[in-house]
């Protein structure tokens, strides 16, 4: 902004105060100031603003500001670590899903073997049929998956679309179920 009090040199007067004028412009303005009382007065008025601004006192921060800052840094560091763990969970999501798939595959194999035992195992202690077919009893047990072992029964039940984990108990105790069923038939 320029005005009649600065001969249109207002911005340059400020820049002179700030030491931001190019040397040629600086020299030219100083020469003008030597002969222009209005610009000298304006320069003094602008300079007074700077003096007063510099006089605004520096107020010390609250006594506990640094302590609060430390606490926030500690909290944010912790949050960062938690976020890292959270990201781990997020990236762990698919890993965990993959683990579930493997566990369910093992569970399915176990269930298939159990059902095979249920349907094809000899009901009487007669010798196992010999033939080209592999005896059911010799069907290799599914490799035990430690993940599966660690998996909660509820997850296995859900994976097998079973209603409850109790169904797994039924599968695991087919002999007992069969015996009870036979007793029922006999009783009937």
């Amino acid at each position: 902004m320029t005005g009649p009090s600065d001969c249109g040199r207002g911005e340059d007067l400020s820049a002179l105060l700030d030491g931001e004028l190019a040397p040629e412009r600086d020299a030219e303005l100083r020469a003008h100031l030597a002969g222009c009382a209005r610009c000298r007065a304006q320069l003094a008025s602008l300079a007074r603003v700077d003096v007063l601004l510099a006089g605004i006192p520096v107020r010390e921060t609250s006594a506990d500001l640094q302590a609060r800052l430390r606490a926030r840094i500690a909290a944010e560091d912790e949050a960062g670590a938690l976020a890292g763990r959270g990201r781990g969970r997020r990236t762990g999501g698919p890993l965990q899903a993959s683990r579930r798939v493997r566990a369910l595959a093992a569970a399915c194999a176990a269930a298939a073997a159990a059902l095979a035992l249920y349907f094809f195992a000899p009901r009487t202690p007669t010798p196992l049929p010999q033939g080209p077919e592999t005896p059911v009893a010799q069907v290799p047990a599914p490799a035990r998956d430690p993940d599966f072992d660690a998996l909660p029964a509820e997850e296995i039940a859900v994976g097998l679309e079973l209603d409850t984990a109790q169904d797994l108990d039924v599968i695991a105790n087919l002999d007992l179920v069969e015996a009870l069923a036979a007793q029922g038939k006999d009783a009937g």
Partner: protein, 184 residues
């Protein structure tokens, strides 16, 4: 800062001790709210702490520090809740200092003038205020302020002058009215 970046935790405390009060003074002028200004001082140092792994000394540390502070302050001022300026800055003290009572001596007069320019600064548009403060009080160059505000150096030159001229006019008006009141 470089010492802090190299793992010297005590250097961070030293940075805080050296710069926090000056930053607070600047942010109080920008926000006109003492409590909020302290919050932003904390925020600035959190940014400094967070930058310890990526800091590159491409500019003076103070320039970088004031750039962070300026950006935070301008963002804060853009929030709708900033519609009540002067909400909690130490108005009571400023008002006492800026009283229109005739000055009893030179020191009192000087204090009142300082308080008056402080109050008047609150009415200056925020970018002008930032530019003038950073140049006139913190000693940043036009180029450094231009980088902080994202404007050209010639724009900074204009912003600084408008702010200075506006404050000068207010002080002159105040001085004239005080003289008028003081005359018989």
């Amino acid at each position: 800062m470089l010492a802090f970046c190299e793992g010297d935790a005590a250097a961070f405390d030293a940075l805080f001790r050296r710069w926090a009060a000056r930053l607070l003074r600047y942010l109080e002028r920008m926000l006109r709210d003492a409590g909020l200004a302290e919050e932003l001082v904390q925020e600035v140092f959190l940014r400094v702490y967070g930058a310890r792994g990526s800091y590159r000394p491409e500019a003076r540390f103070s320039t970088w520090l004031y750039r962070i502070a300026t950006n935070l302050a301008l963002n804060e001022l853009r929030r709708p809740r900033r519609s009540r300026p002067h909400a909690s800055l130490d108005d009571a003290a400023a008002e006492a200092l800026a009283s229109d009572d005739p000055p009893s001596d030179d020191l009192t007069h000087a204090r009142r003038s300082v308080a008056a320019v402080d109050r008047a600064l609150g009415d200056v548009p925020e970018r002008q205020r930032a530019a003038l403060w950073l140049v006139a009080v913190e000693g940043l160059s036009y180029a450094e302020v231009a980088a902080s505000l994202g404007v050209s150096e010639s724009a900074v030159k204009a912003l600084v002058h408008r702010a200075r001229e506006s404050l000068a006019a207010r002080l002159e008006t105040r001085g004239s009215s005080a003289e008028g009141e003081g005359s018989p």
